[in-house]
Subunit: 163 residues, 2 copies
Amino acid sequence: MIMILIIIISCMPETSSDHNTEHLVAARLSSHGLRYTAARRLVVGCLAASPGPLSAADLCSTVAEVVPLSSLYRTLGVLESAGVLAREHGNNGIARYELAEWLTGHHHHLVCTNCGEVQDVVIDAETEMKVGSLIDHIGDAGGYVVRGHRIDIEGRCSTCAKG
Amino acid sequence: MIMILIIIISCMPETSSDHNTEHLVAARLSSHGLRYTAARRLVVGCLAASPGPLSAADLCSTVAEVVPLSSLYRTLGVLESAGVLAREHGNNGIARYELAEWLTGHHHHLVCTNCGEVQDVVIDAETEMKVGSLIDHIGDAGGYVVRGHRIDIEGRCSTCAKG
DNA sequence: TTCCTTGCAAACGATTTGCATTGGA
DNA sequence: TCCAATGCAAATCGTTTGCAAGGAA
């Protein structure tokens, strides 16, 4: 089992920033009195390597051999409440998880209305600032104390647009 | 039972535009070979009168005496697939329904991160155009054929901000 | 008569949880 | 040793569906 784990981990793409992510997550968990176990590393690694948020089922297809479904959910729950992960719900009601923005940076989502794929997009700083300040004004006008925003851009991904 | 229905309907706020909505919905359903029954009128009426999307449970608390839960879900399903309603999922995974944008106009949502309330907001046309064109560019750059967008403004509603 | 609609109860599926066990610091 | 983490099975809960009865055109 440990060997399987090692194989899976060693097969995962790894960038230099991943090392930093690992370190930050470890520190965060430790400061919450939580351990950074193999299963948790595996989940964080998968999410760090993914171009967009993943559902429990998505993750399960990668980690099922080492992490049973119920443990996967528990892992996701722990990581979410520690602020390491963010959860969101697509239009089908299924939860998807991604690394929290303090780890990945602020970004938005391209959502394919055909195949359901979700892809991260980063907006250039200037545009983000423009959009952000417009949005903050709108929130204020509605009597809200604005804390943030989510933008989902809906359309057809390059694959589905061809069909 | 019919009397209860009449009482509930007659208690609902009704604006001049609601009459138009009724008419448009009736036409849409009819063109799909569907009937605009009392239960469906009731649901459409509730949603038209609401300042934001409602969950099945929200609706149920209003209509439970006349529409059992399973029928409510069926009603919502039929109205959605006829394009009368749009479904969305809050961060808790529970489905919320609202009238489709061709009935209400394009709008966005203020989401209270504390109490979960969702409120519609309309952005003035000029701002919407600016934001919209920025968003379309971003989608294009990501290889998407952009069809629309959703903006959720997150913060604390005026009630929760006081606490 | 035909077909849409309804209601009840049962089924589903994603997610959560109780409990006993394992394992790391 | 102590407490967090795990695995299994069972429970939850929002939502869907099969089937038989009701109702409008």
